[in-house]
Point group: C2
């Protein structure tokens, strides 16, 4: 998907990439739609942070530095698995053409965002609900830019640090 | 492109969509690559703000409200031409596979971002260089989210207002 786009994800391409006999993928998935829906469900698992790493990070004080660490960890994961993040972006576009994929994605991403907000507020991290939503949209934009036009932005780590400071600067009371 | 993705942009599809005889598009463009490069050059023209509207907006005082107006105008343009913004996103992904397209896009988008920064600073608008970069990446993320999973974010106008406040909240001296 990352290499050829969503249209490149055919039964034939999956068989070839997996080095299995022609017809294997079509034995496991009733249709190309079903294959794409399963890819759409799996991509969130692939891109999720390592729970052991999250747990370790959570031992640190719940302050601005922790928000920077979590946000920079998204950058680290992006650069460790560019193909995974590109596939997610291909799937987002494919979702504009596939209502089932869109419904599943919307549910998963809304739930993740609500979890992040609840965690942020419950932990007493600096900022408010809007802080988390702004971090989310800005990181979405930074990921798209870094994946597709890596020459546009400068130092991504510095940008993340400024983003955290400012997203948390004014909080609703 | 918005409807079928970059792969759907074939000479045959262009001829059919334009209602011209088969073979017409291929008379105007030496190759599909050349067609995509031209689409890539034109999309920025299509999505650019109306100069008359920009000039009128610039008569307002150079304050926070003006930054909110300019940023909300991006939202207005997004909702007035979703197909155009979807095509831009398809082209961004296509650029990961086409070095010429990527080079042209990188140059155009860097130049636009530098123009925005220069305008912001020269006009004495609140914030600094980082303010403009953060507005840019957050709006890129908001556009991607709004186009692909419109059910995830809530009130976009309120989010833009909070974004401007916070992006400009702490400025480097």
């Amino acid at each position: 998907m990352a290499r050829e786009g969503a249209r490149g994800l055919t039964f034939r391409a999956v068989d070839a990439e997996a080095g299995v006999p022609k017809g294997t993928a079509s034995n496991y998935f009733p249709s190309r739609d079903a294959l794409l829906d399963q890819v759409g469900a799996h991509i969130h698992v692939r891109l999720a942070p390592d729970p052991a790493r999250v747990e370790e990070t959570l031992r640190a004080p719940r302050d601005r530095e922790l928000v920077v660490r979590f946000t920079r960890d998204i950058l680290r994961r992006l650069h460790a698995d560019r193909a995974g993040y590109l596939a997610l972006l291909e799937l987002r576009l494919e979702a504009t053409r596939r209502p089932d994929l869109r419904a599943g994605f919307t549910e998963t991403i809304r739930a993740r965002l609500e979890d992040s907000i609840a965690f942020h507020l419950d932990s007493g991290l600096p900022g408010d609900r809007t802080t988390v939503v702004l971090l989310y949209i800005a990181m979405t934009g930074l990921i798209v830019e870094s994946l597709t036009l890596p020459g546009v932005l400068g130092d991504e780590e510095a940008l993340v640090s400024a983003l955290v400071d400012r997203a948390a600067a004014i909080a609703a009371r």
